[in-house]
């Protein structure tokens, strides 16, 4: 296990921000999540944890906090922590229909990236992406690990309406729109399974540190999964990571 220097900053009356080196690296995220797992075991129950990229924010739900006390405590816990702290993460296989009906920017991207549509789909669906953060909208995943050849500019004019489930590319990022919203990403397909479903017992099955692999599915299968997703009987295939 890698251990990195951390810095701790006050963040308002009842939160602290713990920062790791300012880099997008899986090993850093791993250190963050192991430390979070340790904290969840060792400190009282009234904290919320928000991990993202190189930071972990701790928010106390009950009281204002004394920064210097909590800072000392956290630095000591991080120093004393060893590689035995475990985290539980999964690789999720999410179906995506890349038909042109959904992949409304595929033809344009094919010209821009000088790749065939088939190559774009193959490239996008053969990689595993790491969930570095969840935010912006409920269930919106910040995914890292996009192959360089798929890096593109955002659309010059954002769309006023992007469909729920739309799978997009922008800059070094790829992701799924968890709800209908305006957006400037290039849309290449649609995932019929809601990543965020308020009717489920666990409204968002994905956690930070999980991995996502997209699997190309035909139109017919898309419709089936869509119905299964809506009635809540579809469980995406998952594989335990770091077992």
């Amino acid at each position: 296990m890698n251990k990195y220097p951390i810095t701790i900053k006050p963040f308002g009356e009842n939160a602290v921000l713990i920062e790791w080196p300012n880099k997008v690296e899986e090993v850093i995220l791993d250190d963050i999540l192991r430390f979070q797992a340790l904290l969840q075991l060792e400190i009282e129950n009234d904290w919320e944890f928000i991990p993202a990229y190189n930071s972990l924010t701790l928010i106390n739900l009950k009281t204002k906090i004394d920064f210097s006390t909590i800072e000392k405590q956290l630095l000591k816990m991080h120093k004393d922590s060893d590689s035995t702290s475990k985290r539980q993460n999964y690789l999720w296989k999410l179906p995506v229909c890349y038909d042109l009906e959904f992949g409304i920017d595929l033809e344009e991207l094919s010209k821009e990236l000088k790749m065939s549509i088939e190559e774009i789909i193959k490239m996008h669906s053969s990689h595993e992406y790491i969930v570095y953060g969840i935010g912006f909208l409920p269930g919106f995943m910040y995914l890292g690990g996009l192959p360089k050849s798929l890096e593109t500019l955002r659309k010059s004019e954002p769309r006023l309406k992007v469909e729920k489930g739309a799978v997009g590319l922008a800059g070094k990022q790829t992701g799924i729109y968890p709800q209908e919203s305006p957006g400037g990403w290039n849309i290449i397909g649609n995932c019929p399974i809601p990543v965020f479903n308020v009717k489920s017992e666990e409204p968002c099955f994905v956690s930070v540190g999980d991995k996502i692999k997209f699997e190309a599915i035909p139109r017919a299968e898309y419709e089936l999964h869509k119905i299964e997703g809506e009635v809540g009987i579809y469980t995406p295939e998952k594989i335990v990571l770091n077992a």
């Binding site: 900053k9 006050p10 963040f11 308002g12 009356e13 939160a15 921000l17 920062e19 300012n22 997008v24 919320e48 944890f49 928000i50 991990p51 993202a52 990229y53 190189n54 930071s55 924010t57 928010i59 739900l61 570095y132 953060g133 969840i134 935010g135 912006f136 909208l137 409920p138 269930g139 919106f140 910040y142 968890p178 709800q179 965020f196 308020v198 409204p203 968002c204 956690s207 930070v208």
Partner: protein, 279 residues
Amino acid sequence: MLKILKSGFFTTIQDTGRFGFRNKGVPISGVMDSISVERINALLENEPSAAVLEITMTGPTLLFEENTYICLAGALISPTLNNEPVENYKVYKVSSGDILSYGRLEKGFRSYLAVKGGLKTEKVLGSYSQYVPLTSKKCVLENEEIQYEACNLFEPKISEVKMDTYLDFDFLEVQRGPEFNILTDNHLEALFSKAFTISKKNNRMAYQLDEKIEGHSYSMLTSATLPGTVQLTPAGKLIVLMKDGQTTGGYPRILQLSETSICVLAQKKFGDFINFKLT
């Protein structure tokens, strides 16, 4: 039932908020002015988390269909109960058939109505607070009926208080945010020496301020944000995140409002002024 005869400009059901799902991108929501609501739920001897109506700018017209007790707080929107004026922080008995309506906005921006026992609506992920798409509706609509339990007899321990109000405050107490250190002398001078105007773009998600300050070219990785976080965009625009604000963001978090200052700001509307005061 509480029947909404008129909905007002933007009236929502809120409680103290939806906690435990920020790591999945779910904002906490909840009342914008928590101090006002804490007080009136206390006077009605409700649970602190009892759901209330948050009334924005213009008030609704409401018909009570069961006997109960109510208490109001926050913005002064000339409320009347069966045409008799109603005061903030005073417990009133209402009978089936009574009508609460509002008039001119005198002061503040958000008013609150608490009902004995709280409003009983759709609870989603542990909270009554309306936030689309988690809840099916973003606000209450005309002709809608909201459930509450009838209460025929309640003897409040304290039936009326004169409370300090912060509706006239224009200072927001702020702490240094995580990226405070990127600020230059020019930034600091601009931030703490003059007033800022509330922009037209103000809602439960965020308040933007009209006056820009110097921009910056600081690039950071997306990280957590909180209600009350003041973001500085590269173009120098200031955005104060509020209760429905996103849980993560990529703009530097230069200042952080205290909970009290969030309440003060929640009572400001387009064109009002605020000053930042570093604590």
